[in-house]
């Protein structure tokens, strides 16, 4: 019998029931809930007179809608946002779910606080009504986004109806060159495989370059599995993973910890595991990259030029034409000649302490170019506090950055932080879709280091020239 992948192992350990046609009932160990995709689910429970089966496996936090300036302690001005945030609190209270409110230092982006509070552990199944749930796969947990009907289903039953996905391996061999980071890996993979390259698959990322990443870096890579079409991305747990989880508020303690660690060490793909798809990338060939279009697959090394739609074939040609028109770019323009108005450092892709340290390293002794609006939105209240304790916050404020409270912020502009039509943003977030950061706004995705470089020069810039 062939060996199993890590995904196979986690799947098998959570199988409650398998129907004849392969439709399975999978048990869910952790359910993360935020304010935007849950109101209708709680309402559904209430209407059917159902309860939350395992409130102790569920945690709720508002993040998408919350303002990230200091004014928020006085209350959320936008009425609809306020209602959603208040409703989440009421639902959490009514159903007995742990809740981190906007005045709690533990509040933050749901995918930042799950790992931070130790809710996220290797070998678990984790879901959230949010596509970037894949982030938690960095711990060797099977984590994916679900819709609101499924949120209700998990609340009521602690299970999910699923069919098994296929296994895809993405191996990144060798070492990363200087100036190249986890975000460049994530974007390069999507550039290579396309936004639908992982559809129907769970991706396991492996290889020396992945192993050498910090937990924060691994979260960045798994976070963007969804942009590559995969529902989930996984990285096998190792000592770094275990060290990260150790001592967190919701991590196992004492004898339970020892038992858990022993189990976690078994969580890796067997050498003879079967893969449905394999992609191999040589880390030494990865450069700092940026996106030029309106799909995360529109990726190029920063040394490149804006492509000509005529060079594409089929529907991609029309898509590229539309993208360039939207982005206000001409074919042949050097990427480093593209001037920006705004820099956004934040989102569940890049708002953790390592990301902020990286920004601080590039900014050392330098300033944000006058006229550029540059904003840092830490992923959680605790990340913010740590950056303040390390002196990073002070350095970056003096360099000209706005220093915000935790939330999703300009990643999707559901709160007041939005781009104006035509404004161009260097952003560490994960989606460059039309209107994502504000109607008519133009987004270039890049790493925190590259975002810092852009803040310094006011245009897209090769960070390698600054380090």
């Amino acid at each position: 019998m062939a060996g199993k992948t890590l995904y196979d192992k986690i799947w098998d350990a959570h199988l409650v029931h398998e129907g004849e046609d392969g439709t399975c009932l999978i048990y869910i160990d952790r359910h993360l809930v935020h304010e935007v995709t849950s109101p209708q689910a709680f309402e559904g429970l209430r209407m059917a007179g159902r309860r939350v089966r395992c409130p102790e496996k569920t945690v709720a936090v508002p993040d998408h809608n919350v303002p990230t300036d200091e004014s928020r302690v006085k209350g959320i001005e936008n009425e609809e946002s306020r209602i959603q945030v208040e409703l989440l609190k009421r639902n959490a209270e009514e159903f007995g779910i742990e809740f981190y409110g906007i005045d709690d230092i533990r509040q933050g982006i749901v995918h930042v606080i799950g790992p931070e509070q130790g809710w996220t552990q290797p070998g678990m199944t984790i879901v959230c009504g949010d596509s970037h749930t894949a982030t938690h796969g960095a711990f060797g947990a099977l984590a994916h986004g679900i819709g609101t009907s499924e949120v209700e289903h998990v609340l009521a039953t602690q299970t999910l109806i699923q069919k098994k996905s296929k296994n895809m391996k993405v191996e990144v061999t060798g070492r990363l060159p200087v100036g190249v980071t986890a975000k460049d890996i994530a974007l390069t993979i999507i550039g290579r495989t396309g936004t639908a390259g992982g559809t129907g698959h769970v991706i396991e990322y492996c290889g020396e370059a992945i192993e050498s990443l910090s937990m924060e870096g691994r979260m960045t890579v798994c976070n963007m599995a969804i942009e590559g079409g995969a529902r989930a991305g996984l990285i096998a747990p190792d000592e770094k993973t275990i060290d990260y989880v150790r001592g967190r508020p919701h991590a196992p303690k004492g004898a339970a910890w020892e038992m858990a660690v022993e189990y976690w060490r078994t969580l890796r793909s067997d050498p003879d595991a079967q893969w449905d798809k394999v992609v191999t990338i040589d880390a030494s060939e990865i450069a700092p990259v940026v996106t030029w279009g309106t799909s995360p697959e529109d990726v190029l090394p920063i040394t490149g030029v804006v492509p000509d739609p005529e060079d594409f074939e089929g529907p991609k040609r029309d898509a590229a034409r539309r993208a360039l028109e939207y982005m206000g770019l001409k074919p042949g323009t050097r990427l480093t000649d593209i001037e920006i108005d705004t820099v956004f450092i934040g989102s569940c892709t890049n708002s953790r302490i390592e990301d902020l340290r990286e920004v601080a390293r590039v900014m050392k002794g330098r300033r944000v170019k006058p006229g550029i609006r540059a904003m840092i939105v830490p992923g959680s209240g605790l990340v913010r506090a740590q950056a303040e304790a390390e002196g990073i916050a002070q350095q970056l404020i003096e360099a000209g950055f706005e220093w915000r409270m935790a939330g999703c912020s300009m990643c999707l502009g559901m709160n007041p932080d939005q781009l104006k039509p035509g404004e161009r943003c260097a952003s560490t977030s994960n989606r460059n879709f039309e209107g994502r950061q504000g109607r008519g706004g133009r987004t270039h995705l890049l790493s925190p280091a590259m975002a810092a470089a852009a803040a310094i020069t006011g245009r897209l810039t090769d960070v390698r020239e600054l380090i």
């Binding site: 209708q40 998408h64 986004g145 819709g147 009907s149 289903h153 039953t157 079409g229």
Partner: protein, 201 residues
């Protein structure tokens, strides 16, 4: 959930690839705490001009397609955010069936939960249906879920595949939660086993 058996209606052509859920329903409409009433927001950025008036060039604003029940579109439809507001908006507009060469996973799943049938067909067949759709209200399609076929205006038929469990749920308008709660014993047994094997959870 409303049952899906046979649907006859106008199909609207939307020949774009990678239509993401931000495009289907932009974030400003996600602040609702209800499922209903989102039809007016469907494709909002493409459908309305800056002053809020309708963009006459957008397909669903054209007289022939205002009553469209079916959408024929490009690959990777529904990519991006998991927001179920996307199928809610399409449903509220009146769309019950979407035909494309491929869909993003979460959106695909969300459709079934809301009584919308997403159909995956090879590009050549989508192209044929796209041509049919371009004929507007002069040409309607019939989607027969039981028989798993699409009947074209010229009388020819295109067969499609659908997952048997999902077909069963759609045909009968079944609620997943009710089905799963009926398996309560299996869930209890699983929890008991896990408490032994992985007590730290």
């Amino acid at each position: 959930m409303e049952r899906f058996t046979t649907l006859t209606g106008v199909a609207a052509p939307l020949p774009l690839i990678n239509v993401d859920t931000d495009m289907i329903i932009p974030k400003q409409y996600l602040k609702t705490i209800k499922r209903s009433g989102l039809g007016k927001a469907a494709f909002s950025d493409m459908r309305y001009l800056d002053d809020g008036s309708e963009n006459p060039d957008f397909v669903l604003n054209q007289p022939a397609y205002r009553e469209a029940r079916i959408l024929v579109t490009g690959a990777n439809f529904g990519c991006g955010s998991s927001r179920e507001h996307a199928p809610w908006a399409l449903l509220d507009f009146g769309i019950r069936c979407i035909i494309a060469p491929s869909f993003a996973d979460i959106f695909f799943n969300n459709c079934f939960k809301n009584g919308i049938l997403p159909i995956v067909l090879p590009q050549e067949e989508v192209d044929k249906l796209m041509d049919d759709a371009r004929k507007g209200a002069n040409a309607t399609l019939t989607v027969d879920l039981e028989a798993q076929e699409i009947r074209r205006p010229d009388g020819s038929v295109i067969r499609f595949d659908v997952d048997p469990f999902r077909k069963h749920c759609l045909l009968n308008g079944l609620d997943d939660i009710g089905l799963t709660l009926a398996r309560g014993e299996a869930i209890d047994a699983f929890e008991a086993r896990t408490r032994q094997a992985r007590p730290w959870l």
